[in-house]
Symmetry: C2
Subunit: 209 residues, 2 copies
DNA sequence: AAAAATTAATTAAACGTTTGTTTAATTTCA
DNA sequence: TGAAATTAAACAAACGTTTAATTAATTTTT
């Protein structure tokens, strides 16, 4: 195996679980089964390694919504697709999202903070455009678009952040982890889509009960 | 000033900003303008100090919803009050909420993790009861109560966590911090109340546009 | 194709700081 | 005077990083 990739994925896992300051380069070297000095040799420093991890992983989460925005399907279906995309993304790699949001809540490493902000902000701007188009065309109510986005992302994020809380909440069965289950993904998708229909659509006939 | 309280509030501020591992006891001693050894003298250890901080501050955020649950007003108005309560709470002391949620996303200090989970879980159970009552009485649609709660808390939490993102998003004006502004609080309150009405109420006439 | 030379990868050990904590001496105040 | 509060100094351990030596791989030369 390529030691570079081994270090990167191990570092990603440990940074995600224990935070940047909570993870020592010795922890990483041990878990990746490489010599301590290899980390400096390949990445220069712990902080540079961290930047490489963020760079390395954000390419995989960078979904392009620009194309979706241009397509001619109803805006509410675009919202559906965005929800599906975010749910899959965040549940596929929860550790990395913990890492990103933890970094956003810290006042350390300002340049990393800005870099992450820019990554997340690009998609937010596109989504805001889609919501605004829906409002302008009369398909959506004149909702607060910024806060509507906060609701979409915040709902998923909240489930990720409070993973263990959620486990106790959703399933008394202790051996079962809802975060590896497809059921929860679908449940979140379904919930958010219904929620957004109720919130956005003017003539909402979505109550199927 | 009482050095104990000075240390507690300083530690709370620094832990909130830089995380537990990112804050040294020397940082705290310097910022609190007390001698380094005073922290061990008063609190025993850094970890004990952290527990004192969480204990000390969680008493102030521990709002009792049990009484609200028992009162005889419509369930939707109870939801309104819960939203107001959470918005005020989380915007009043955002650093402490950063601290709590960061701790929940980490796999360090399991006992602290459990303690925080229990604090947050108590309110969640009560809120879930209120939603379920609304469903049972026919006032609310048969929504997914767990995820509805995740939406309420997640929306507020998302605005806190991505504070700087939000600042760029909501106001291009860089000198203005939306998190000290009453306007954002009211905006979030308003948004969530409308959202929950659309989501929960069966005959929703809340569209005032 | 074999040998020599050169570069790259890997290692154990050590470097100087910073960490949390403790000690022992001193000051403060009742 | 005596207990509590406060201090500067020192402690060992852990930290990120570097060094210098060794092995492995690659390239060059014969």
């Amino acid at each position: 195996m390529d030691p570079r990739e081994t270090i990167l994925s191990t570092a990603m896992k440990l940074f995600g679980e224990k935070g940047f300051e909570g993870t020592s380069v010795r922890d990483i070297a041990k878990a990746a089964d490489v010599n301590l000095a290899m980390i400096s040799y390949y990445f220069g420093s712990k902080e540079k390694l961290f930047e490489h991890v963020v760079d390395y992983k954000s390419s995989s989460i960078r979904v392009v919504f620009e194309e979706l925005a241009k397509s001619s399907i109803p805006q509410i279906e675009k919202v559906d697709k965005i929800i599906d995309s975010y749910v899959v993304r965040m549940f596929t790699n929860p550790q990395f999202h913990h890492l990103l949001h933890r970094e956003l809540s810290l006042h350390q490493r300002p340049q990393m903070h800005d870099a992450i902000t820019e990554i997340l902000l690009r998609n937010v701007v596109t989504i805001k455009g889609i919501l605004q188009s829906g409002i302008d065309s009369g398909e959506f109510k004149a909702v607060d678009t910024d806060l509507t986005i906060a609701t979409m992302l915040g709902t998923i994020n909240h489930l990720l952040i409070s993973e263990s809380m959620c486990r106790k909440l959703l399933h008394k069965n202790k051996g079962f982890n809802p975060f590896t289950s497809k059921k929860l993904k679908e449940r979140v998708s379904e919930h958010l889509k219904q929620l957004m229909r109720s919130h956005l659509l003017i003539n909402n006939k979505s109550d199927k009960r």
